[in-house]
């Protein structure tokens, strides 16, 4: 009888261990997820391949772009988040193709493609080692996702085990939202000029 109970106990234990292992096995997505390097708004964040420093974040209901021939107005059902900073490659020339806004509810908002033609946009800037380059990013997000957001920047959105800068957007709150933000081309080191209206 005791041998039978022992056997039963063994089976139960094995089942419990297997169940636990099955529930806690990391999936392919977890195993190959990017390696995060964390930083904060206003501080230079240095990873292995690139360094990035986010200097300023502005919120607006509309973005107006000044073109050579005509101005365009971009409206949104949420709010525009325009992020300015400086990025630099550390070892070799590269481009940072992926920028995402991670909202407090866990949803990821990719940088808006509607404004991708603006000068100085992050995916269009080729970064060289030793030459800090001004970069611009624009996100379109619901107002509820502004506070408590995190900026995720990587060389590519899909590369497994790639380095991902995670910059906590502390202090960005949906209180001072400009009614419109004008983006114009500028001559000089910074290829754009932002003015709030």
């Amino acid at each position: 009888m005791s041998a039978f109970l022992k056997g039963l106990g063994g089976v139960a234990l094995a089942a419990a261990v297997l169940y636990g292992m099955q529930r806690t096995t990391p999936g392919y997505g977890d195993i190959t997820s990017p390696r995060p390097v964390t930083g904060k708004l206003g501080h230079r964040l240095e990873g292995r391949a690139f360094a990035i420093d986010i200097a300023k974040v502005q919120l607006a209901r509309r973005v107006i772009t000044k073109g050579a021939s005509r101005d365009s107005t971009f409206t949104t059902s949420g709010v525009w988040v325009v992020v300015e900073g400086t990025a630099e490659a550390l070892n070799e020339s590269l481009t940072l193709l992926s920028a995402e806004w991670l909202g407090p509810n866990g949803v990821r908002y990719a940088a808006s493609q509607r404004l991708s033609s603006l000068p100085g946009m992050l995916p269009g800037q080729r970064l060289e080692p030793g030459l800090p380059t001004p970069v611009l990013m624009a996100f379109e997000i619901p107002e509820s996702q502004v506070a408590g957001g995190t900026l995720l920047i990587a060389r590519s959105a899909w590369a497994p085990l790639a380095e991902q800068a995670r910059i906590e957007m502390a202090g960005v709150k949906p209180v001072d939202i400009h009614s419109s933000l004008v983006v114009a081309r500028a001559q000089g080191r910074v290829p754009w000029a932002l003015s709030a209206q």
Binding site: G27, Y28, T75, T76, S77, V107, A110, Q113, R114, P142
Partner: protein, 193 residues
């Protein structure tokens, strides 16, 4: 062979037979169910224009269909084209930005030599990029209709569904996978300049 040994052999054989019968029954039932379901597919619901359709990854609401020669950009193409446009509201219900509109819906029955549609964002009157989660947008799908084919008075669209799997069957990677159609929608094709 002693009597005891014969008994254990008999027991083993009995266990083997029980297991085999069980496995065979499970296989037969599962196969029969698959065959039955394939023979009796669930009827695809019919949705009315203006009725939101849940496709898993998206919520789509068809507004109207029209034919014309002017694309949503408002710029007349250099060579005159026959365009068929379908206007709809689209909401991304997934957790990340997506621009995978191409398999959202298809004309049923398929039309030969019809190139895939271009998708425009009504707000910008330009080609749509990725749609942000939880931020519904008015979109316009535009087909360049072949010159030889007359534009139908009614457009019947088959709306596809996708489900999210945390682990797919091949790599164990998360992803979106096609499932049976969500609905059929019939839109009357109006005219516009």
């Amino acid at each position: 062979m002693s009597a005891e040994q014969r008994l254990t052999w008999r027991r083993r054989l009995f266990a083997f037979v029980v297991a085999s019968v069980g496995a065979a029954a499970a296989t037969a039932i599962s196969f029969a169910m698959t065959v039955y379901e394939a023979a009796h597919p669930k009827p695809v619901p019919i949705a009315a224009p203006g009725q939101p359709i849940d496709t898993g990854r998206w919520t789509i609401t068809f507004r109207d269909a029209r034919t014309g020669s002017l694309p949503p950009t408002g710029i007349k193409p250099s060579t005159p084209k026959k365009l068929v446009m379908v206007e709809f509201d689209l909401d991304n219900r997934s957790a990340s930005t997506s621009n995978v509109f191409s398999r959202l819906f298809a004309i049923e029955p398929p039309i030969a030599n019809l190139p895939p549609p271009a998708f425009y964002l009504a707000r910008d009157k330009s080609v749509a990029g990725g749609l942000q989660p939880d931020m519904p947008e008015r979109m316009i799908a535009v087909w360049e209709w072949p010159a030889a084919v007359p534009v139908p008075e009614q457009l019947r669209l088959k709306v596809a569904t996708q489900i999210h799997k945390q682990r797919d069957n091949l790599y164990g990677a998360p992803g979106w996978f096609d499932r049976e159609p969500a609905a059929f929608v019939t839109l009357a094709v109006g005219t516009s300049p």
